[in-house]
Amino acid sequence: MNVEEALKAAMSEHVADVRAPAMMGQAVRRRHRSHVLRSRTAGAAMLTVVVAGAIPGLTALYPDPAPAGGLNGPATARSESAAPATDKSELAHPAATTCSYRMDTTGTAVKKVGMPPSKPDLKAKTMTIATNHGTIVIRLATAQAPCTVNSFAFLAKKNFFDNTRCHRLATPEATGLGMLQCGDPLAKGDGKSKDDGTGGPGYVFDDENLGGIPYTRGTVAMAQGGEDANSNGSQFWISFSDDNTQLASQGSAYTPFGVVLKGMNVVDKIAKGGFIPFKGDPMADVRGEGSNAPKIPVIIKNVTVSH
C-alpha cells in the first residue's frame, strides 16, 4: 500500500463517526441572527472583527477614552488595584509547587536554551526589562503564576531575550486592543515578516492565574492563540489600554503574571509612535495574517528577574 492510500484510509476512518448534528440548521440561523445584530450594534466592521463572538455591550466597545494614568501620566500603573485581584485569584487557583514544561511539538520556530527547572523559585519579586527606549519594571504575581515566572527567570538567566525585538503593537484606535507584544526570539519586528509572532523557546506550559488580574492598563500577560489554551511559551504582552479587558469576556486564556510598576511611559512612547501595518493592511493583523509592528523599533537589551 502506498502512502497516499494509507493516508486516505486513515483519514476516512478517522472521520467515519463524525456526523453533523441534527440541529445544525438552527444553530447556523441563530448564529446568523447574532451576526447581524453584532454588526449593527458595533456600527463599525472593524470593531466587530476585533470583538467577534463576544459583545459585552457598548461600554466595552467604547470605553472611557482616558484610562487611568493617561498617555503621559505617572509611571506607576495601578499597582493598588491589582493587589486585591491577585489575592482573590490565589484562593481560586492554588498555585502549583512543581511545574511541568512540555516540548513544543507544533513545529514552530524556536530558539532552544533548554527547559526550566520543575521547582519554581517562589521568591521572585520583579522582572526588569531593559529596552532601547528605557527600562520597564514589572511586579510579578509569583504566588499566582509560579510556573510562568519560573519560565521567565530561566529564560532571562539564559539571555534568551537579549537583543530580541518586540514584533507587535496593537492600538485601540486601529484594532480595538492596546498592547505591545514581545518575546518572540526570532522576530524581525518590521511589519513584513509573516513569521513574526510564531517563535518560542521550544517548550510550552499550562495557563495559570486566569481571571486573576484583569487585562487593564499595566497588566503583563502571556501570549497565546485566542482559542488555544495551555500553549504558553516566551511571548508576552504589556497592556496599555483598558480596552483589553474585552479579551477576558471572550474567554481568552492569556496568563496574567504581573503588573508594570515603572516604565509605562516607555510603553506609551512606543504606542504613540504608531505601527507599520502588516503588508499595508492594518486589519491583516486582526485576521491573523501577520503582525503590525511598532514603528519605533523596540529592542529588548536584557531581562532580569530578581527577589
Binding site: 502512502v3 494509507a6 513545529g107
Partner: protein
C-alpha cells in the same frame, strides 16, 4: 430569503453538512466538537449569501471558507494570532504500539496548517493540484511542494513505526 431559499438551504445542510464537518475535522486537526464551530461559521457565511450562491456550487464555497478559516486561525500566532487547533495529543510521540491509522492521523495533526490543508484537499477530497491551488489561492508549485513534504513526513513516520522505509 424566500421560503424556497430556506427549504433549499435545509436540503443543502442535510446533504452536505456532514461532509463539510469531516473536512473541518481533518483540516484543523481538531476534535469534532472544535471543528463544529468552524463548520458552523462557514455555513453561516453560506447562509448569509445563500440566495446569491445557492445555484453556484455552495459546497465549494463552504469548503473554501472552512479551509481558509482553519489556516488563518492557525496563523493567529499568539494573542489573537495563533490557534494551534492542531495540537498533537499530550502523549509522547513515537509509540510503536500505535497502529498505522493513529500514527498517520497524529502526524497529520502535526503538520503546519497550510500543509495539512493541502494534504487533506489532495488526498482526502481528491482535488487536483490545480483545484487545490485555486482553493488555497496559491500556485500549483506550492501545492506540489507542500504535498510532497507532507507525504514525506508521513512516510518517515510509517518508516519509524515499522523500522523500515515505505
Amino acid at each position: 430569503m424566500t421560503d424556497d431559499d430556506e427549504a433549499a438551504f435545509d436540503e443543502f445542510l442535510a446533504a452536505r453538512s456532514t461532509a463539510l464537518l469531516r473536512t473541518a475535522v481533518l483540516v484543523c486537526g481538531a476534535s469534532a466538537h472544535d471543528a463544529e464551530d468552524l463548520a458552523q461559521g462557514a455555513l453561516e457565511k453560506v447562509y448569509r449569501h445563500w440566495p446569491r450562491i445557492r445555484h453556484d456550487n455552495p459546497e465549494a464555497y463552504a469548503r473554501r471558507v472552512v479551509v481558509n478559516a482553519a489556516i488563518s486561525r492557525s496563523r493567529r500566532r499568539k494573542v489573537i494570532q495563533e490557534i494551534t487547533f492542531a495540537r498533537p495529543p499530550e502523549t509522547a510521540a513515537p509509540q510503536s504500539d500505535l497502529d498505522l491509522r493513529d500514527t498517520l492521523v497524529e502526524e497529520l495533526r502535526r503538520l503546519p496548517a497550510r500543509m495539512r490543508a493541502v494534504v487533506v484537499l489532495r488526498y482526502w477530497e481528491d482535488l487536483s493540484e490545480m483545484e487545490t491551488a485555486a482553493l488555497l489561492n496559491c500556485s500549483v508549485g506550492t501545492v506540489k511542494s507542500q504535498a510532497a513534504r507532507g507525504l514525506a513526513r508521513m512516510r518517515a513516520r510509517i518508516g519509524a513505526l515499522k523500522g523500515t522505509t515505505v
